[in-house]
Amino acid sequence: MDKKTLLKLQITATKIRKNIVEQVFSANSGHPGGSLSSAEVFTALYFNEMNIDPTNPKKSDRDRFVLSKGHCAPGLYAALAERGYFPVSDLKGFRDINSYLQGHPSMKDVPGVDMSTGSLGQGISAAVGMAISGKLYNEDYRVYSLLGDGELEEGQVWEAMMSAAHYKLDNLMAFVDNNGLQIDGKISDVMNPDNIESKFKAFNWNVIVLEDGNDMAAVIETFEQAKACKGKPTMVILHTIKGKGVSYMEDDYGWHGKAPNQEERDLAIKELDEKLVELEGAQHG
């Protein structure tokens, strides 16, 4: 991909990160860590890959995205707002009683949300359902889903893996945000799904591993690889850094579901603004 496009996407990802921080700060609750680690995949999906139309969010032949790790709603909402589904200024209402931006994605409330999620393990199954429907009715749309690595501890995920492979859902592509942390600590300490690459392969999925899941160009490349694989669903394991882009949040499980205070918010925004200046400079350089 050309450098200009890449820079543009990186700028968008940085704006999404800023809006993640702003939402969680405004709400004084929410999940910044896993939202920040997923900014590249949100950007790649909504700004480069998916066949969607923000002016017609329900168009029937659209590609679908299911945020199986629904607690990372701030990341999804930031992407949807940047993409034009609703005003960016609405994001400050996140989790407020007078806002439509529910704490976890609600398809009945938020334009562009394809499935209500939040209870872990259920979103990937719903994505399987969308992909099955596409196959049954010969529709060309593709279905995408994002899981957390902690989420893989839910048994339902593996029921979904089994069924997607059984029905050869090559119209389904999923990502695991493999940042290695969950609420109570490292997943290797809390409950280790261990060697997930071989597990997905054993379930007969096409598996792609990205050593740097925050590398935008690398994320973008996985889509063509997935489309090229026929007869199997594709799983991309993204090795990411939880809290990516905000220095003091990076790789600290304490920031899974905690809001920054004013000082912390200011620091985060300052860092992300500096990143924006750097990227915009490179764009014009």
Partner: protein, 313 residues
């Protein structure tokens, strides 16, 4: 003696009949021969999807298919549909109010020999308490067919409670009409009202005959839609007869009986007695013998009716 047909049988037949609608997709969890969704599969294999022994996944998959504009029937035994997969039904199906119909067969203790592990007596409770859910419990084969059609015509989640055991056909296929959310008065009376659902309906009719022999006039009401409950028909029964007996093949805790007392206690308090499973697990045995042992009989309904009448002020 009326012809006996299990409501699960009528369900499978109805799916095969109404399955001509290309928008309908049917899912099952490796029980299609028992839930009778196999009848649909035989006619429309291209729209039947077996999800294997993975009910939690099946419910969320059903939700995902429904988001693409399809009418989805997801079937398994009631114990798995409303028990194991209860939270998937809540969060994946009911919260977004998706167009999924849960065809739950083998409800109640009349499952028989399989025993308590498979005898679901809490499903009405679990399902009716979820916002956006509709709970339908047909009394016979004719009503089941009509309920399946009504469920197809309704856009939203429906729980269809169906049985394994053959039950008498009490309605006439040619004249029966199913009214969503409406109770059906089967016979009028002045001393007491017997309100029943599912296979207890024909037993309530028998109970009314027993009471008649003793000079007691009993009204009989069939409640096929447990949620939303028909308030009007219950309030009218309170006013007209002053006493009620409810009858259901379900735990007396949070079933039809409590839906009825939710209405009576708030709008027109009168004595209500309940016939149902007395908050205990079922067990193995022949269905008819189990119904008798658990008090799900016409005689017990009649006895409770006399008790309710005696409690009138």
């Amino acid at each position: 003696m009326a012809k006996k047909i299990a409501t699960r049988q009528a369900y499978g037949d109805a799916l095969a009949e109404f399955g001509i609608d290309k928008n309908i997709v049917v899912l099952d969890a490796d029980l299609s021969k028992s839930t009778k969704t196999d009848n649909f599969k035989q006619v429309y294999p291209e729209r039947f999807v077996n999800m294997g022994i993975a009910e939690a996944n099946m419910m969320s998959v059903a939700a995902g298919i429904a988001t693409t504009g399809k009418t989805v029937f997801a079937s398994t035994f009631a114990i798995f549909a409303a028990g194991r997969a209860c939270e998937q039904v809540r969060n994946s199906i009911c919260y977004p109010k998706l167009n999924v119909k849960i065809g739950a067969t083998h409800a109640g203790i009349s499952v028989g020999e399989d025993g308590a592990s498979h005898q679901m007596i809490e499903d009405i409770a679990n399902m009716k308490t979820i916002p956006n859910m509709t709970v339908i419990s047909p009394a016979d084969a004719v009503e089941t067919r009509a309920a399946v059609k009504a469920a197809i015509d309704y856009n939203g989640p429906v729980y269809l409670r169906l049985g394994r055991l053959g039950v008498p056909v009490i309605f006439d296929k040619d004249t029966y009409t199913f009214e969503w959310g409406k109770g059906v008065m089967l016979s009028d009376g002045t001393d007491v009202t017997l309100i029943a659902t599912g296979l207890m309906v024909h037993l309530a009719m028998e109970a009314a005959e027993l009471l008649k022999e003793e000079g007691i006039s009993a009204r009989v009401i069939n409640i096929h839609t447990i949620k939303p409950i028909d308030k009007d028909i219950i309030i009218k029964a309170c006013k007209d007869t002053g006493a009620i007996v409810t009858a259901e093949e379900h735990n007396v805790v949070n079933g039809l009986g409590s839906s009825v007392t939710d209405v009576t206690s708030q709008y027109y308090p009168i004595p209500v007695k309940m016939v149902g499973v007395e908050d205990k697990f079922g067990k193995s045995g022949k269905p008819e013998l189990l119904l008798e042992e658990y008090g799900l009989t016409a005689i017990n309904i009649a006895d409770k009716a006399k008790q309710a009448i005696a409690m009138k002020k």
